[in-house]
Amino acid sequence: MSTPGRSSPPDGDAALRAVTGLAARLSGTVVVGIALFVLWQAWPALQAVGPLRFVTDAGWHPLAQPAQFNLLPMLVASVAVTLGAMLLAGPLGLFTAIFMTDYAPPALARLLRGVVELLAGVPSVVYGLWGLVTLVPLLAAWQPPGASLLAGILVLALMILPTMVLASHAAIAGVAAEHRLTVAALGFSCAGSLWGVLLPAARAGLCGALLLSTTRALGETMAMLMVTGNVARMPDSLFAPARTLTANIALELAYAMDRHRAALFVGGLLLTALVLALVRLARGLGCAWRHA
């Protein structure tokens, strides 16, 4: 039992392990690097202005004398459009996913899936354009100025719907394959099996779908910039204009310098912290992330 001349295999495997291990560490570091870098860029503002003023100033006027840096209205706007969009897209996406697994004839399910995947790939600029040119004027005729939280919620709901549908479809289809025959053999009704067995079994996946869609919604930029009105004021109704944290950055970064620029990075930091909190929440709830 000799091992005739060959490069010692464990060495090759050790190298493989070392190289991939390095890659994994690097991949893991990217997000830390991003966070630290954004923090570093935001630091001058945090230091000169102080973190407190980002929530207590009278408004957002970074170029006025004296400058005002209140990010709170934008934080509220970001959270509001995200929540609103989730309230619409969550159930709608779930039912569409249920339709695809349980009710649709196979051909229709395939078509629907193709459609949803296409919608998932449509760039946000296109959604934004549609919102600006078609939706906002409709709203403006009803409740001026049209560009509002509501417009943002509607466009955003439409945008995250595909993510919601695909992720919940994956979750339901995953358990359906396992339990469908058993459930049918036990003589469950269609709705009975759905609400009694499939949805509870797919809970982890569905919760992941919900949180994945939420992070997408929170991060949406260009479409929000185009339809929400961008007024950096605390929104007091659904029909009031609002500026999201993301839109604030996109709107002003190109023109911002020095402390103004750093203040925009504070907004970016806030967004990153929100996402981190969401992912933590997802982990705490035992959600399964699916990247549909």
Partner: protein, 270 residues
């Protein structure tokens, strides 16, 4: 190699060399013992059947021998296990060399999704056999040994997954014996096969007496009686599997010493 070529005799006079010795072998999964305190000695060239109800640690025991336990996250093995006097469990021992000495056949035949030829060629190549003609020779010999040669000679380059269940399992056996192992571990190799294919594999095992040391896990007591010369009975005690009785197959089935064994072989328990 010289040991292998010794003719096995039915008389027990010349004490055969010990192939495998387990002392206080314990396997834990994430801290929970699945197999506890196994002491077992297996003679070279013998066929040992491992029987007992499901979940009593037979497969865990098998997995220790070629350290498949390494692949399982959270699996811990303690105690000692030696193969022809060499320690198996030490971290420093050469894992790949060990696995080449110990072939394994699984419950579900698992040919690589490659051609029939590549299924044997790939491990041989890994094994360092550069000469194509030598590899071809070994391939033919292994396929002949498992009785597959005639069935596949004109389609060696077809995908292995196109074979029938019984053929796949024999291909996996050929893949294992092409590497000329000393020990063959078989984990319920016939559980997914029809009686005809099962008989073919049992015939193979019969032919291996003295050539390979075989450990076979089976739930089929009749099969254990047919193919093995020793039998080890595993049982679940205090939540962990353990070895309750071990001895020559004939004696064990005829006069079980342990009450659990008696009930099990009589079909009253398990």
């Amino acid at each position: 190699m010289s040991i292998h070529s010794l003719p096995t005799t039915t008389c027990a006079e010349p004490v055969p060399q010990t192939a495998l010795q387990a002392l206080d072998l314990t396997v834990r999964y994430r801290g929970r013992a699945a197999l506890r305190g196994v002491n077992l000695t297996v003679a070279d060239g013998s066929v040992t059947a491992l029987i007992g109800p499901s979940g009593c640690g037979k497969t865990s025991f098998l997995n220790c021998i070629n350290r498949m336990t390494d692949l399982i996250a959270g699996c811990e093995v303690s105690g000692t296990l030696s193969l022809f006097g060499e320690d198996v469990l030490t971290d420093g021992s050469n894992l790949l060399a060990l696995r080449r000495r110990v072939g394994m056949i699984f419950q579900r035949a698992n040919p690589f999704p490659l051609s029939i030829r590549r299924n044997l060629d790939l491990p041989l190549r890994e094994y360092g056999i550069r000469s194509a003609s030598e590899r071809a020779g070994r391939l033919e010999q292994a396929l002949r040994d498992v009785g597959l040669w005639r069935e596949v000679i004109d389609r060696l380059d077809d995908p292995a997954l196109a074979l029938s269940g019984g053929q796949r399992q024999r291909l996996c056996i050929a893949r294992a014996i092409a590497l000329e192992p000393q020990v063959l571990l078989m984990d319920e190799p016939c559980s997914g096969l029809d009686p005809h294919a099962t008989a073919a594999i049992e015939d193979l095992i019969h032919g291996w007496h003295g050539r390979y040391t075989v450990l076979i896990v089976t739930h089929n007591l009749a099969q254990a009686r047919r193919v093995s010369d020793h039998t080890a009975v595993f049982w679940l005690q205090d939540g962990a599997g353990t070895l309750v009785e071990h001895g020559p197959t004939g004696a064990l089935f005829a006069a079980p010493r342990h009450p659990v064994t008696a009930d099990y072989v009589a079909g009253r328990a398990g």
